[in-house]
């Protein structure tokens, strides 16, 4: 390889809760970032997070980030399709990738091996895959008309179309996708990450390769190594293997911002032969980086809908004389440009109106009265325990770092989280709930039996 190894430009380290040694962050002179998290044990997790996802798409290429993720496994000049999976899985690796609105990431978790042999090989193969994908036409498969029943050779295009079909059969996914398109009208978040069959059946290799070159740039990539490793050895491996073959600079991303939602929105879909009804309702939340508000809504979520002591479980399931709901819950989905605060439930279809009314009453209450002291204390403890959970496996540790690097764009948000959490009062939470969980701005997606 003619490209010289990148040099380290900056070094930082940062303390993580429940992780003994500081997490190390290295910025390389080509823009690529390396993060090392030390965790004792035989396993090591290697991942690269690319700051690209459906946010980087428009209608003509919807689903391309995810399709590319599939095609990245289809070989490089040095390693033909399948070799990456076969070689690493035969060392005991778990290998996979995922695409979401703000990022795409690829990971390998495996035993380091004697003298770190597996680690070395995994970094080499992983870097090769990230830097030199061929995206071969014969693996992508010929373009076809998704409406026609006559099809030629079935290759990766079909795999993704089957994934679309699979998601279509998943009632929660379907309800969420409908909610998502209800909440966003102009922002690229409006598109489903999985895309459409039309685009997947017809998008050209050239378009995919252009997309790859535009966004898989060193400045957009974060490589994370979590495990019991020697930092110098890892730095050496990364410098040796992550030598980007060309001068890649990220393209500029332009898109419209979502105007503020000023009215409640509602959509109802049906499906034949369902036993139950599904509701997902969402509010536009804060940006993750605005840590304090973000944590306030994490607390709201805990109090309202997480665990069996939560208000929704107690009031809507345990204390109803006759059942209305089968399950209830809340969550905050974190996106770089603004979270979605979700309130979701599965219910008895005949009781849809009551279900909606009860859910809204719980939401209203949390925007009108401060949470009680014991609820606040409970939420803080549960959120703290979540950090213990994050540090238990190399995969979780890698994943939390990647998420914070790409969605928060600031890893210190993770290390500062518990301090900020401790400072939050019931009034802070009330203000955040009032601001974000306004029933005049709720979006509701319902899936009912036809």
């Amino acid at each position: 390889m003619n490209v010289p190894p990148p040099e380290i430009k900056t070094r930082d380290n940062i303390k993580f809760p429940y992780v003994d040694r500081p997490v190390e962050i290295y910025k390389l002179d080509n823009g690529h970032t390396l993060i090392i998290a030390h965790k004792p044990g035989k396993l090591v997790n290697i991942s690269t997070w690319v700051k690209t996802g459906s946010i980087n798409e428009d209608d003509s290429i919807t689903g391309i980030s995810h399709f590319l993720e599939h095609l990245m496994f289809k070989g490089t000049p040095d390693h033909p399709a399948g070799e990456f999976d076969r070689t690493l899985e035969s060392k005991g690796a778990v290998v996979n990738a995922a695409t979401w609105k703000d990022y795409t990431f690829y990971y390998v978790t495996l035993p380091k091996g004697e003298n770190n042999e597996n680690l070395k090989q995994a970094v080499e193969l992983h870097a090769d895959m990230m830097l030199n994908p061929l995206l071969p036409d014969d693996e992508i498969g010929p373009v076809f008309d998704p409406e026609s029943s006559e099809v030629g050779e079935k290759r990766e295009r079909f795999v993704v179309i089957e994934e679309i079909r699979m998601r279509d059969d998943n009632n929660w996914t379907k309800t969420f996708d409908e909610l998502n398109s209800l909440m966003y009208r102009v922002h690229p978040y409006k598109r489903d990450v999985i895309g459409t069959a039309e685009v997947i059946a017809t998008v050209s290799r050239e378009t995919i390769m252009n997309y790859y070159k535009s966004w898989y740039t060193p400045e957009n990539m974060f490589t994370i190594i979590a495990g019991e490793v020697d930092s110098e050895e890892v730095i050496g491996l990364i410098r040796k293997n992550f030598r980007f073959p060309d001068e890649r600079k990220s393209a500029e991303l332009h898109y419209e911002q979502e105007p503020e939602q000023t009215e409640p929105r509602y959509i109802e879909n049906t499906r034949k032969e369902l036993n139950t009804g599904f509701i997902m309702s969402g509010f536009h939340g804060p940006k993750p980086k605005g840590l304090k508000e973000n944590i306030c809504l994490d607390i709201v979520s805990t109090v309202l809908g997480e665990g069996k002591s939560s208000r929704m479980y107690q009031n809507l399931i345990e204390k109803q004389k006759e059942p209305v709901f089968n399950v209830t819950g809340t969550a905050q989905y974190e996106f770089r440009e603004g979270n979605i605060f979700l309130v979701q439930a599965n219910f008895i279809p005949e009781k849809k109106e009551k279900a909606l009314e009860l859910l809204k009453a719980e939401i209203r209450k949390i925007t009108e009265e401060p949470v009680q002291e014991h609820e606040l204390k409970k939420a803080k403890k549960r959120l703290k325990a979540g950090f213990a959970n994050d540090s238990e496996t190399v995969s979780d540790l890698g994943e939390v770092i990647g998420h914070f690097m790409t969605v928060y764009e600031d890893i210190t948000c993770y290390s500062n989280y518990l301090d900020v959490l401790n400072s939050i009062t019931a009034d802070d939470i009330l203000q955040a709930a009032k601001k974000y969980l306004d029933l005049n701005k709720i979006s509701i997606s319902v899936l009912m039996p036809a």
Binding site: G92, N326, V327, K378, E392
Partner: protein, 415 residues
């Protein structure tokens, strides 16, 4: 990772402990060797597990939920074919609170909330059956284990749930489950073994030993090939599952079938089903095989979710891969890759205290001893390609059940 201590309370309850220093959370599993296999009506084991969190003599269900959540203590009950398991996990600082709560629910549950819990359970089952994949598997299991408690699937539970009385629950819990001889604690964390033993002895050491013989559970039989189907409107994909009876967990064929399973389709992106049916033929996103080892027998399945007009091609694809295993020896390279894959994955499944506590207790409650958690490594290493061919012929020459769910016009008359 492999070492652990084995102790006993004064009433014979086994206690397996492993110390993992510098880990913030402790995991305690408590296994009772009953499960669905001792049910007189489908759903008793599950309903019992659920009712163990629904109130004791001194705590309401809400009290229990509040105490657990305020201390970030996780406590849940899982009912499987061969056992009920309490899963308890907490930050080390909350040991006393956690174990006090466990004691209370295990010893003093009233089971009085049965009507409410029955309705909740029914609602959740209906929700799960809204998933086409769950429906197809449900139909397979119910058919494979017809008239056997291993066949107590969701739909079977829905049928029998209305008939379960509180007396059935109490009988099942006190006479078939809470039996010290058939109970195991497995505990992994930054723990002090002596302190653990003392805490458990004082709380559980006085549970009465009962003189109850093992209940006879017949070995399931499958005497003919069966094809079952569900016609479901609006199903975008066809769900196809084929199942065979497999060896029980202590059977001599278990290790070979485990390696075979890695080769065929349990593992990641390089298995035969994945490369042939997904990568080369583009038939599916999700295709895999699975081996579920039970105490009295096992269940081997292959699954694919595909476009409905691919049903025939997929079934033929299953046949081709199964026949290859029966007729051709696996190459040394593929075999070695599969063995190493399993051993590496094993590390992945044993990474947390919670996972380790599960495996220690699991192997012991299944009757093969917690040591099996490490013995299996040696057994896997010794599997040969002849072993794989032999077990393929032994199990895949037996009768099977095929379960298909699809829109009516795509469901074949026969398979």
């Amino acid at each position: 990772m492999n070492s652990f201590n084995k102790d006993q309370l004064s009433n014979n309850i086994k206690v397996l402990t492993r110390k993992n220093p510098n880990t913030p959370r402790t995991a305690i599993n408590m296994f009772m060797g009953s499960g669905a296999k001792y049910e007189s009506l489908a759903g008793i084991a599950n309903l019992t597990g659920r009712l163990l969190l629904q109130g004791t003599n001194s705590r309401t269900a809400e009290d229990i939920a509040n105490e657990l959540d305020s201390n970030a203590i996780e406590l849940s009950f899982e009912s499987k074919q061969d056992y009920i398991r309490a899963r308890l996990q907490f930050l080390n600082e909350d040991f006393e609170t956690a174990i006090d709560l466990l004691e209370d629910v295990i010893k003093n549950s009233t089971f009085e909330n049965i009507e409410k819990e029955r309705k909740k359970f029914l609602g959740e089952l209906k929700l799960e059956l809204d998933s086409p994949k769950t429906q197809a598997f449900d139909n397979l299991v119910k058919t494979m284990f017809k008239d056997h408690p291993y066949g107590h699937s969701h739909t079977k539970i829905i049928e029998e749930l209305p008939d379960i009385r509180i007396e059935d629950i109490k009988d099942y819990y006190f006479k078939k489950s809470l039996i010290p001889d058939r109970m195991i604690f497995s505990i992994v964390g930054d723990i002090d073994r002596k302190k653990i033993l003392k805490a458990l002895e004082s709380r559980f050491g006085s549970l009465n030993q009962q003189d109850i013989a093992d209940i006879e559970v017949p070995v399931p039989q499958l005497t003919e090939n069966k094809f079952v189907n569900i016609k479901r409107k609006d199903a975008a994909q066809a769900q196809i599952v084929q199942g065979w009876l497999a060896p029980p967990i202590f059977g001599e064929d278990f290790p070979a079938l485990t390696v075979l399973n890695v080769i065929l389709g349990s593992s990641g992106l390089s298995s035969r089903l994945f490369t042939e049916l997904r990568d080369k033929q583009g038939l599916a996103y999700h295709v895999r095989s699975s081996l579920e080892a039970l105490k009295h027998l096992g269940l081997y399945t292959v699954y694919i979710g595909t476009a409905p007009n691919n049903i025939k091609t997929c079934l033929e694809g299953f046949d081709v891969e199964i026949n290859k295993l029966k007729n051709e020896l696996v190459s040394e390279e593929e075999l070695e890759g599969a063995r190493t894959n399993y051993l590496g994955k094993r590390a992945f499944w044993h990474e947390t205290n919670s996972q380790q506590a599960y495996y220690l207790g699991y192997y012991d409650i299944m009757g093969i001893g917690a040591e099996f958690d490490s013995v299996i490594e040696e057994k896997i290493k010794n599997v040969t390609s002849e072993d794989i061919k032999r077990v393929a012929n032994r199990y895949f020459s037996q009768k099977s059940v095929i379960s298909i769910l699809a829109q009516a016009e795509f469901v074949p008359e026969t398979v």
